[in-house]
Symmetry: C2
Subunit: 144 residues, 2 copies
DNA sequence: ATAATGTTTATGATATATCATAAACATTGC
DNA sequence: GCAATGTTTATGATATATCATAAACATTAT
């Protein structure tokens, strides 16, 4: 039975959530993906991250992040100013338009979360988080 | 804090697991992805599924499944025999090579699972499954 | 029968996932 | 200084994710 596989349930939960979340963002007329939102959020909270740094925070790889950044810049949600001391890197800043987008998305994100977690108590949530962290740690190569 | 977001933990867990699982399959010299494996497993257990049926079982959409099926056929893991009574559909059967692949992958899958769930008890697993099912249900549009 | 409707598959377009590698650049050891 | 080494970004190739839509076909109502 596939239903007995825990990763089946895991996959099901995350995919169901992502679809619901994206549908609600789309319905609000906002042109951003859940993944782009997450990257933008990370960039809002941290300056001077390399693509690798960002990748680790959003559980993607550097190549995926490179392409997402290019898209975010192209869409005007992010600005990339060349850094003088290293010709490869740029200074990434959420643009005014990006800030607007984040603000517009914020209430939807909160709502999505409430819908997804309806009927689940704080204590259960803590247990869930703990178990998920355990799994992630178990699966992490270097166990750093 | 991103760490306080439950979906961050969810995403982290599933992505960590998928990478570990795929790395182990690759290391064994087996040329199949985790997603292809899942589709093949579904086809082994059910005959006469439409692409939509398969998609619902693996939480993808019909278009993704169509492309995966084409790949599986191209790789000789699946055979697609045209059905006489409906010119669009084909009869999908796991090929001999596909069976061999499933058998080769099976021990790795079990091992992956053990690694990922190390230190997590049966009772905790049941709680985890229940919470994940609840989230998936909460996020499902029609609530069927 | 035929038109309207529904089902199923295929595919274009775009985004993300990932590996591998190239290119550009910085740093370090000598 | 310069070669070796390490870092950072970009991109080709391939797979998956998803929406939208076209094409092929089946079914149903009349």
């Amino acid at each position: 039975m596939l239903n007995s596989i825990i990763f089946y349930s895991l996959d099901k939960a995350i995919r169901s959530y992502r679809r619901m979340a994206q549908a609600n963002i789309d319905r609000a007329g906002l042109d951003i993906t859940v993944d782009q939102w997450l990257v933008l959020r990370v960039l809002l909270e941290h300056n001077d991250l390399t693509q690798q740094d960002i990748a680790e925070r959003v559980f993607k790889d550097q190549a995926s992040v490179a392409r997402m950044l290019a898209l975010l810049v192209k869409r005007g949600l992010l600005s990339a100013i060349p850094l003088p001391h290293d010709g490869r890197r740029t200074q990434l800043r959420v643009s005014a338009q990006g800030h607007q987008m984040l603000e517009a998305v914020q209430p939807i994100v909160l709502d999505n979360r409430a819908v997804a977690l309806a009927g689940i108590g704080e204590d259960e949530l803590a247990v869930l988080r703990q178990l998920l962290e355990r799994i992630a740690l178990n699966c992490t190569p270097v166990s750093n």
